[in-house]
């Protein structure tokens, strides 16, 4: 559904920052996360993981585990029913059921180190761990392919046997490139020939992890009636339901997924890993509840990080400051099974610029690393790093002001995105102007202390945001409060940002709402909390449900006052007709004679989401002796459409920025020659700590989204994108050497300094 709205401005609830409804539970330790789930008779599961990155499974001997006291069930791939060769939507990506099943538990081959080979259920966690480790697996070890060059090399061993690649529409056998696709407008070669300056660079980056603090977990009970109950940390209960159903060939109607709080996801908790295993272990254990919690090294080695890879970027520009054409090859790691974020990278890569001629070629490449998954604006950070690196060089080369050049070439309403979609109203130009006028941009860097150097970088980025399906139910209580049920996992205060949109319509204080997130039997289908869709899409469902409730209440008022519903007006929480008036909360206690409780429900399915842009400025200080970087000032400008809850919106931007800075400056999967991740702990995979970061300043620009009654745009994804290039360009300005490889870590800076 695409509807456009006249946006309003005289808000009573929207634009305030009330305390979230689940806040007290979360600061007192009362909130129940997946790992906190208890059930009578609960037993524990654990898994055995492959020590090899690429190997054929010759045999599995589970006899020792089966014989162990306290062990209830042992599971291998042979226990899984055959899954259909069918691809289903997982919210922020798709899952092929047959390959997804092989990813959950290896079939004949292991595709990455940490790939699950077998599982056990036992009386307690420790026994399960010991039993799992007692399973003997014989492997034929195969050469590990650790990067896209090795994967695409002539004669490279095929990781996924039987894979037939789709290369620009041609079927190609014996390949590790699952898909090659292209978006092309005009003739890039002619346009480059007519450009005053053409710069071509190839950048590369390593796999990185979302780094959510809560590890994956799942608890399942397979009842004797084949009804399956699941609790699992997830961005979307319905995604768990559909994946478990498909992977286990079990009817969705017999699966109930209970909502539990989620300790971070960032895209990585859209794919199931443990829930199908817990379910089958429960079935084999006679219906006992089985719980599994992943250890941290497994989270790194065997869940879905963001792809590394390499990107070739070529841009032609004229001396008048107009880009003539751009051409890119996006080559991203899918991991051990097909399906990287390269499709989304292709959508985003040129989206900040108005390009008359462009060509985008995407490659989805298998490597012996975990199957990649969504990570906050999947594909866009990598793409942004590539294009912004070249744009920065163009500005340096031709002496253009870095913001004015972007303004002169900025995408706006009507611009054709690189994949052909035409933009509706977007706010990139407003962001660039805000950046240009910001205190940060207009304040000199200042002199670096002795032994240090400073630089400033700026970068822009894009994310298309998400729509899709969401449901919201409202129930007006006798006391004037409202029970609100909605289906979106709440990772950052969305219970409140959704309730605020219904509160604005009804004129009821948001504190009088009781938002809940029920199980999948109790609320209509709602997609994952991801893609920056929740406050926009589920918020719109809440808005629509509130509008329906007003219509219902008008007819109740008409009953009470013995008039026609068409005579009843509603404004600012008060119904009026023929000189009478009654507040909505007072009316709530008088509904019995009019037919009892007043409720409403709304489901939406939104095809479009309205786009998000961000522009960020990074000041970096580099220690010239050690290469250590310090971010000394950071400003993030973003078009948020309308900030429903400005404080939480700002928090999304700040969090995204810091994840992006980790990606830019420190984080990487460090892969050994045999394909193992060497830094598979939080000690060695070094995410930013409080000590590493400054305060993150934000400037929220509000260019209303025409697709939402309050102008809301998704905000969570785009802020992670600009830091990669903004930090790299700051490092370049500081030491006068460009960085084409991420992360810009101290060792790499020292290499550049000594070069």
């Amino acid at each position: 559904m695409v509807a456009t709205y006249e946006t309003k401005s005289d808000y009573k609830v929207i634009g305030n920052s009330p305390i979230r409804h689940d806040g007290v539970d979360k600061v007192t330790g009362r909130a129940i996360y997946g790992g906190d789930v208890k059930a009578p008779g609960l037993i524990w599961g654990d898994v055995l993981r492959s020590p090899h990155a690429h190997a054929r499974i010759k045999s599995i001997d589970t006899s020792a585990a089966e014989a162990m006291d306290g062990v209830f069930a042992v599971l291998t791939h042979a226990d899984f029913p055959q899954a259909d060769d069918l691809t289903i939507d997982a919210g922020e990506g798709t899952v092929n059921l047959r390959r997804g099943q092989s990813n959950v538990m290896a079939d004949q081959k292991v595709h990455y180190k940490g790939h699950v080979v077998a599982a056990v259920a036992a009386v307690d966690r420790n026994t399960a761990q010991v039993a799992a480790q007692s399973i003997k697996v014989e492997y034929e070890v195969l050469p590990a392919i650790s990067d896209v060059d090795a994967a695409m090399a002539e004669g490279a061993p095929q990781i996924l046997e039987g894979l037939v690649g789709d290369h620009l529409g041609e079927n190609v056998e014996n390949t590790n490139v699952a898909r090659v696709f292209r978006h092309e407008f005009g003739n890039v070669d002619d346009a480059f020939a007519n450009s005053d300056l053409v710069i071509e660079r190839t950048v590369s980056m390593s796999m990185v992890h979302q780094g959510y603090i809560e590890p994956h977990n799942a608890t399942a009970i397979w009842g004797q009636d084949d009804n399956l109950t699941v609790w699992s940390s997830t961005q979307g209960s319905f995604g768990v339901r559909s994946q478990v159903a498909g992977l286990l060939h079990h009817p969705e109607s017999k699966i109930k997924v209970n909502y539990v709080e989620i300790g971070g996801g960032f895209g990585g908790k859209t794919v199931v890993y443990l829930a199908p295993i817990a379910a089958l272990l429960s079935r084999k254990s006679g219906g006992r509840p089985v719980k599994l919690v992943m250890d941290r090294s497994a989270v790194f080695e065997a869940t879905g990080p963001a792809p590394g890879g390499k990107i070739r970027m070529k841009i032609g520009v004229n001396k008048d400051g107009k880009i003539q054409a751009a051409d890119t090859d996006l080559i991203l790691e899918a991991g051990g099974f097909p399906g990287s974020a390269v499709g989304a990278a292709a959508i985003c890569v040129f989206a900040c610029y108005n390009l008359p001629v462009s060509r985008i070629t995407g490659y989805d490449v298998l490597v012996n690393k975990p199957k990649s998954a969504a990570y906050r604006a999947p594909g866009s950070p990598q793409a942004s790093f590539a294009i912004e690196t070249v744009i920065d060089e163009i500005c340096d080369e031709l002496g253009f002001d870095k913001i004015q050049f972007r303004l002169d070439n900025a995408a706006h309403e009507g611009t054709r995105r690189g994949d052909g979609v035409q933009f509706i109203r977007v706010g990139l130009e407003e962001c660039l102007v805000a950046a240009k006028e910001s205190d940060h941009w207009n304040t000199p860097l200042g002199d670096a202390p002795a032994g240090k150097a400073r630089g400033r970088g700026i970068a822009s980025a894009y994310w298309m945001n998400g729509g899709g399906k969401s449901t919201c139910d409202l129930m007006l209580q006798d006391d004037g409060t409202v029970m609100l049920n909605e289906g979106s996992a709440d990772i950052g205060g969305t219970r409140t940002s959704i309730a605020m949109q219904a509160a604005e319509v009804l004129g009821i204080p948001v504190e009088d709402f009781h938002p809940s997130i029920p199980d999948t039997d109790t609320i209509g289908f709602t997609g994952v909390t991801g893609g920056s869709r929740t406050t926009y899409t589920t918020g719109l469902a809440a808005y629509n449900a509130a509008q329906k409730l007003v219509v219902e209440l008008k007819s109740r008022v008409a009953d009470l006052w013995e008039t026609e519903a068409s005579n009843v007006e509603f404004a600012d929480g008060t119904f009026t007709a023929n000189g009478d008036s009654i507040g909505i909360q007072e009316l709530a206690g008088k509904l019995d004679p009019t037919g009892g409780p007043a409720t409403s429900t709304s489901s939406v399915n939104l095809a479009e989401a309205g786009n998000a842009y961000g522009v960020q400025i990074c000041d970096l200080e580099i220690d010239l002796a050690t290469g250590k970087t310090d971010v000394i000032r950071y400003t993030a400008v973003q078009d948020v459409g309308k900030a429903v809850h400005p404080q939480y919106a700002e928090g999304q931007i700040q969090g995204g920025v810091v994840q992006g800075l980790g990606w830019a400056l420190n984080e990487e999967y460090f892969i050994t020659d045999d394909g193992a991740m060497a830094n598979r702990s939080f000690l060695d995979y070094r995410m930013p700590t409080s000590l590493d970061m400054p305060m993150i300043d934000t400037i929220m620009v509000e260019v209303p989204n025409p697709l939402h009654p309050y102008g809301v745009r998704g905000i969570g994804e785009v802020p992670i994108c600009p830091p990669l290039s903004a930090a790299a360009q700051a490092a370049k300005e500081a030491i006068g050497k460009p960085f084409y490889e991420l992360p810009v870590k101290p060792g790499r800076i020292l290499e550049a300094l000594n070069d």
């Binding site: 129940i32 990772i491 928090g651 810091v658």
Partner: protein
């Protein structure tokens, strides 16, 4: 190693002011002792190797990662967890400040941050921003970028 007949240790400990008498398997961490034996699941598991701080608790006033301490080690000691911060009169000022300053998003790291921040303010009533950032560097948060967490702690100082 067999685990279904582990030797158990008799432990008498005070948790959030309440005395507990427990038989703790010798291998069991304080984290699992709290979560599995006592049922206090407010203390969270993030990494089990002492690097994320989600399981931070206070033992005799000293901040520890409870995943790195054995349950058997707290015999005779006072353990304080996030569940002990609020009183019948209301939330601890840090808890209130975390709510008002939006210092949590997903909330999984929040109990650890609260216990760690309380450990700081109990000993140093007026730390600088740099001191707060240094003290809290043992607690990872992936959602907030730390800005609002630091501001929440500063709000309690003011």
């Amino acid at each position: 190693m067999t685990t279904n007949s582990p030797s158990k240790v008799h432990v008498t400990t005070t948790i959030n002011g309440q005395q507990h008498e427990l038989l703790v398997p010798g291998y069991m961490s304080l984290l699992d002792t709290l979560r599995e034996l006592i049922g206090l699941t407010g203390t969270k598991e993030g990494c089990l190797d002492g690097n994320c701080g989600a399981c931070t608790v206070s033992v005799d006033g000293r901040i520890v990662d409870s995943c790195l301490v054995l349950g058997a080690e707290v015999n005779g000691k006072n353990v304080d967890t996030v569940e002990g911060m609020a009183t019948p009169e209301g939330l601890h000022p840090l808890q209130q400040a975390f709510l008002e300053e939006a210092a949590l998003q997903c909330g999984i790291c929040t109990p650890g941050f609260l216990v760690a921040a309380k450990g700081l303010l109990d000993n140093e009533p007026s730390p600088t921003e740099g001191r707060i950032r240094h003290w809290l560097a043992g607690n990872l948060c992936r959602c907030t970028g730390y800005d609002k967490i630091v501001r929440a702690v500063q709000k309690v100082i003011d």
